[in-house]
Subunit: 354 residues, 4 copies
């Protein structure tokens, strides 16, 4: 019963096959190979963006931090939500790669609205040189709470940013899941909605370790390349990144995998939503569900070997599974991926239901 | 009617005299002069801290940023209030000098309490390597809203930090005013209360451009020296910084000036507090008063040449003095310094009262 | 005829097999998996270093830059040769990761001697706070010119560094080739010779994208972990890095591959060394040969499809293959790897010999 | 007998007077005062550069580091001589402020030539993304060895840089001395010769602690302002910097002081050049002389209280005045300033001559 993270899931077999197929003799390093040329072209086609600059890296944090470093100056502040991966889960990587830019939080939780974004922007940049200048807006879709921005919502936020002359980054670690949830095309959910730079995830959706960055305006492409190398993120045997991403894009595999992950999540939600004592914390729109239920339920699941993360502001030194009150509600994050089995879901729900 | 800032005030004449007196022939640069030796000794005596390492710099931001860079690692987060100078008014200098540390906000406004500090500390450092590690706590006394921590309050916060193994920095840009307000000794308000590193202000209280940093544990003194030079903050003709600070400390001038500034503020508060429509926003305990009153009052003061900053989240592009409603309340910050005249205060209150 | 780089070579089939074998169901991310535990233990055994801290990353630049960032302060200077990868080929990554440390060059070319290292160390750190403080010494073995330090040479350099209290890093992108060349054990070529931090290469020797960092003193292990995450170099599906490295270490595969690469180079040297007009530039002791020969020879090789890099200070905008004088000598770097074929070598030499 | 440094000299009395005169009541901080407006205008006039952006800071290192940070990207390399202040005497400040740019050394000693600059430029930027990109060229005039570039020499170097599209910075810590030596106008020695950004020194020539930065193309002026604040180099009581610089520029005081310093140096050179055993190391063209003479002469001068720095690669832990051979030659740097007395010079020469 594996619901800990979509990056705990396996690599899709076709990706392993692609690695083996790419492993044929010599190929020039650092991206000067035919597969890299092919994947760049394929990504441009996929996004209907013939001018876009395309780069592969091995981690989502690298994709985000390099994109932001290219968009932001060190004396600026980046706007994101309080639960943004760039704020909570990257150990100051954005601050590092930007040379010390600040992050300013917009909104209360998983999503910004144009109003909360506007308030955040207005709170900055009005102190002359005393505070940081306003920098890029960074959105996340699928959000870190499993909710999904529609293309209209993204466009409204990007319009707000644009009104202040600010560029927009989208952390798309689960971009495929957002498309699967909304039916939007890659272009519609990115540059057509006003996104300037996209972190296009692969690892959480069946790749081994590949994320792409797309700069829809290629003006700063060379800068990105130098920042990638300087960040030690230019992989020498680059063909193996390209091979993974090509297999991912072939025949829509990436969307099939995302649909499978979302469907598994929907099945999970259906299985547990009606159970007495279970409360959904956010509308689960993609492949993550945040919910809470009594401690005794968590204990049973834990004893049965279920893997998932408890969430919320628990005191770090305490094991939340311990504690006197078996009925106390504990929050949890449940993540499905393309390989999640119906059996796992059904067992999980059955144990919960007891 | 000058209430814009204590750094808009003049230099005390004795400081100018001290500069002239120091201007006698040659003296080795970069601190290798007799006045610098003397001021180091004098500061150690003043703080009853014979082991302390002492450094002079020309700006409060330098004092804060260098102190924090010495206390914090780039993969850590610093804890401060939402209105801390290091957060709002230093254009990412702390992020720059620390190499990209983050700031985490504790409390809601001018002061932390042990509880709000504890909540902030608990919110960080519990995500393994995904979030930043916990770093120093940075307090400010006098706070940016004109309130003052007692020594007991400082000690309680430092104890909380110490319980987590975190060092404590005090931004004392208005340290003299805090002592004048509380009657505490320099040692009581700093290392005896648990402060590890102090930014000891001078510029806002009658100096031209000198702040001291005291590291009460000198273990990282050499690192500080190298960071100061690397930050371009080692002044070559160092004797002129030392001369200023010596004049400041001579015969308690620094405390006299702070008492004068605080007394002027008390007179101002007394003069305006009873005026209909005037509302104090924070208890004015040192040399700053935050208050609000109707727009028409601001307009009259403005026309009469009064200088002060409006405060609050006004939209940047609008002039808050404009607007349809003359009775709308606008916030303001009023700052007194050692040179504030009774006449300025009385005229200000008289115009307000009209 | 592939002699461009050992990172242009393929992945060894056993590594691909290991990836496929590791691709079985779920495993916790970020290194919290069984294969990562196993590879850490295996590396400690391989190096006879039961206390060592072990980390995997995907690029050699990351290994070097993170190791140096852990050993160096931003106000220090790192000592390396003028041809060091960290100086010439990492686009300021060491400067970036250390927060702005400088590199000071020791020696004239591929190797330092204790004397040239001593001169470099003496040239720094004697200007008080005006110049940088002395920081780590970074060696490279196999050197960037294909020569090899003996364990005695490494020990003599490390002793010199230690005499100044400086830690020692070894860039071992081709560490296996150095062992194959000298017969030294992993421990003898690293901590027993005085190395504190090792970048242990895998990618150039048959892996896809895995390098290890070993900190023989684990005191700063946690710092390294945070710096790795902050540098965006903590791979989420970490088991696939571990699986590669385990396959590499199994049954001495890594040393077999290095021996094969070195043997191919020896065959190449034997084949070309006697050809009229061919001049070896450095003693080829591992898997790289630097040589020069007349332009017409390069032209023939180029037309026949031979891949290798020309070396030396040629003007960037000129194609060195062009030019009036067909007898002008042009330098070249020839690199062999485990997959280099005798046929490639023989054809290359035959064309050269014409 | 004070020849240690021009920053060991006193402040000119007119500057002290100007500080006292400026000390009149309140003035808005951070440069929003009348004197700052006036000095900006005055500097533009002085340089015949009505569009130039002008900034004041308190140290030469700040002027240099901020100028370079504005001109360079972190993935670039700056070109300077091996004895440049930015390389040898700023404890990695350029690396820090640029976010990790590298310095590449051009030429062998005090000066570049177009040929050595070209060679340095050619040595970089030809490795794709592997090495740093080419960044600004930084010249120093007066050089760190007391020699002076003519305007034609500066122009030739700037032309070379421009041919590669690189901007040019001039470290003019002793800019006034260079003008006094050459008779060039401020404009001729700066923007008319191709300089983009100038560090215009004051402190070494009679000010207390003021340097100006001039950006002749104001396009990046706002960036500079934010970088200055972020670097903690925006002085709050800014009028006192402006007052110093205005007094310096009034009636050509700055050039008078530089001429006096240069004349003192000429007198010193005349007095010592003919002494047996004294060897000049560089042609002394401004206010610094590098020479060597036997150890016994240094000992006599030292005992008589002469202050100056020994130069050269002496071992740090040894006192060069000690040692067996009294006839061994030791190098020295002798610096004059506007306040150097004929008496000091004559006594110095007399002791030397003994």
């Amino acid at each position: 019963m594996h619901f800990a993270s979509d990056n705990a899931g396996p690599v899709h077999p076709k990706v392993i096959e692609a690695l083996a197929a790419a492993n044929d003799g010599h190929a020039m390093g650092y991206g000067a190979d035919a597969l890299t040329r092919a994947v760049e072209e394929r990504l441009r086609e996929t996004f209907e963006a013939p001018e876009a600059a395309v780069f592969l890296v091995t981690t989502g944090t690298a994709a985000n931090a390099l994109a932001l470093a290219t968009l932001a100056e060190p004396f600026e502040t980046v706007f994101c939500t309080p639960v943004a991966h760039i704020h909570e889960d990257e150990c100051n990587a954005p601050e590092f790669f930007t040379g010390g830019a600040k992050l300013t939080l917009a909104g209360e939780a998983d999503k910004m609205t144009p109003e909360t974004l506007r308030a955040a922007i207005q709170s900055q940049g009005n102190r002359g040189v005393h505070g940081p200048a306003r920098g890029p807006v960074s959105l996340t879709n699928v959000t870190e709470r499993g909710t999904v921005y529609t293309t209209a919502e993204v466009a409204a936020l990007a319009d707000m940013a644009r009104g202040y002359g600010l560029p927009v980054h989208l952390d798309g670690a689960r971009f495929a899941n957002a498309l699967a949830a909304t039916g939007a095309s890659p272009a519609e959910m990115s540059w057509k909605a006003g996104i300037d730079a996209l972190s296009f995830g692969g690892t959480k959706n069946g790749l081994m370790a590949v994320e792409a960055v797309l700069l829809f305006d290629p003006a700063r492409a060379h800068e990105f390349e130098l920042r990638r190398k300087r960040g030690a993120h230019l992989v020498s045997k680059h063909r193996y990144l390209a091979a993974q991403m090509l297999a991912y894009l072939d025949d829509g595999l990436w969307l099939d995998l995302a649909r499978a992950a979302n469907a598994a999540n929907a099945r999970l939600v259906e299985a547990i939503a009606g159970i007495a004592g279970v409360e959904l914390l956010y509308p689960p729109q993609a492949n993550m569900t945040f919910a809470r239920w009594p401690r005794h339920g968590h204990r049973r699941l834990h004893e049965a070997g279920a893997e998932y993360h408890l969430s919320g502001n628990t005191l770090e030194d305490d094991d939340p599974l311990e504690g006197d009150d078996p009925h106390a509600l504990l929050g949890a994050r449940l993540v499905t991926d393309w390989s999640t089995t119906d059996d796992d879901i059904d067992r999980f729900a059955a144990i919960m239901r007891e």
